[in-house]
Amino acid sequence: MSSSGLRDSHIQLNEDGSLRHFLTIDGLSQSLLTEIMETAERFIDFGQRKIKKAPLLRGYTIVNLFFEPSTRTRTTFEIAAKRLSADVINLSAQRSSTSKGETLLDTARNLQAMHADMLIVRDSHAGAAHLIATHLNNQLQVVNAGDGRHAHPTQAMLDMFTIRQHKPDFSKLAVAIVGDVLHSRVARSQIQALVILGVPDIRVIGPNTLIPTDVESLGVTAHTSMDTGLDNVDVVIMLRLQRERMTGQLIASEQEYFKTWGLTEERMAAANKDAIVMHPGPINRGLEISSSMADSSKSLILPQVTNGIAIRMSVLSMVMSGAEGAGE
């Protein structure tokens, strides 16, 4: 897993260390990741309120700029922005002018000309959000909602937040990330976050064809056997098999994959008794995870979705708070 060379940290932070964009976990401090989770904590009960809104971002315009399909991420960003009273515009590749040849930057500049305050960007190219942030620097805020195989920082933060609710001490955890690590921007961001938060035992498990060759340089151990990989872990994070990104024959067959690397209740017996199971969605039942495992009491797949709203409210308010002119 070679680093894409996108060291975004310097451009996503203000001089005082506060967030001004949110592009990647890479290079962020433990205290900043903790601040994101603690701010999310303040938003967690909004969903139960009679009026699920606060006026914090009233008057701001936030554009969801999605060049890749997404249901969960786009919807939870939209809900998060609306709960903070921002105006939200949804643009997806199918109906945008990019199909007429306009470049990503031109699209962003047009949105800027319409006085958008923030762009939430998903793109199949690594570095797309970074590119916009660099070229439109300080004039609007950019949040990365997934760029190619590079990063998906809000997904990683909602996963850390979910882990923290059940296992508050990161310094005592063993965490296994299972499946298609090769194509997963989620796994990259998760590994970075787990390392920064001080998790001592991070493992990746999967077939050799789906584990990047230099993965151990990120501070993890690689396993090809579920039984040894899951031994005494506290947290199991399943990844979706990204067949749409696969070029060539990387798995023998779906049946074979499930038999060897699918998570079942029997396999979970190797993990600690109170271990939790997570999956960023969408889940392929019977491929990465058995249906009964996905629906079991150990599974936090739906709480992850709910937590995604609070984490995104946190990131949106912190990033907007770091906009030029705020806090001065």
Binding site: E38, R42, A54, P55, L84, S321, A326, G327
Partner: protein
């Protein structure tokens, strides 16, 4: 050199507020304190009044009208309203009333959580410098201070007011 007024003890101000609250008007009302100072005051009032209903707390961080200028404010404890506000008489409590903007934000938050029958405002001190038509219903001390002088409640243990002079006015 301006004369900085002496402030009575928090204890004596609390006694005066408790006397005013022990009337029929407030007998069935619930206490809601604005974090942080108002929440400390509410805890003291609750001890003295011995109401059966536990008090509520409001954190106005997400309702402030100065986000664009000052950004997100640090955590002060979160809102806790352990009762329905619908058709309830709410006694909203803060330590000091100055511009009125905090109270406006708190009322907006209250009305996002329900539809109170009535909201009364209680404060230990109300100083000049109002920017909104908001005045306390019960307030034992009204102060006239210079624009750069601010009353600050120190606490929670012990509670005491102090007057500080700020060199630079906050926006």
């Amino acid at each position: 050199m301006s004369n900085i007024p002496r402030i009575p003890t928090v204890e004596s101000l609390l006694t005066s507020v408790v006397d005013s609250l022990q009337t029929d008007t407030y007998s069935d009302a619930v206490l809601v304190g604005i974090r942080r100072g108002g929440a400390w005051i509410v805890d003291e009032l609750q001890k003295r009044l011995g109401r059966a209903e536990p008090p509520g707390y409001i954190d106005i961080s997400f309702y402030r009208d100065d986000f664009a200028m000052v950004g997100l404010q640090p955590e002060v404890g979160g809102s806790e309203l352990p009762f329905s506000l619908d058709d309830t008489h709410v006694i909203l409590v803060d330590d000091v009333i100055h511009t009125g903007r905090t109270i406006r934000a708190a009322m907006n938050e209250l009305f996002d959580s329900g539809r109170p029958k009535k909201v009364s405002l209680v404060s230990l001190i109300e100083r000049d410098g109002h920017e909104l038509p908001i005045r306390a219903d019960i307030c034992p001390l009204r102060l006239s201070l210079a624009p750069n002088e601010h009353v600050k409640l120190l606490g929670p243990e012990p509670l005491a007011f102090e007057i500080v002079k700020r060199i630079r006015e906050t926006k």
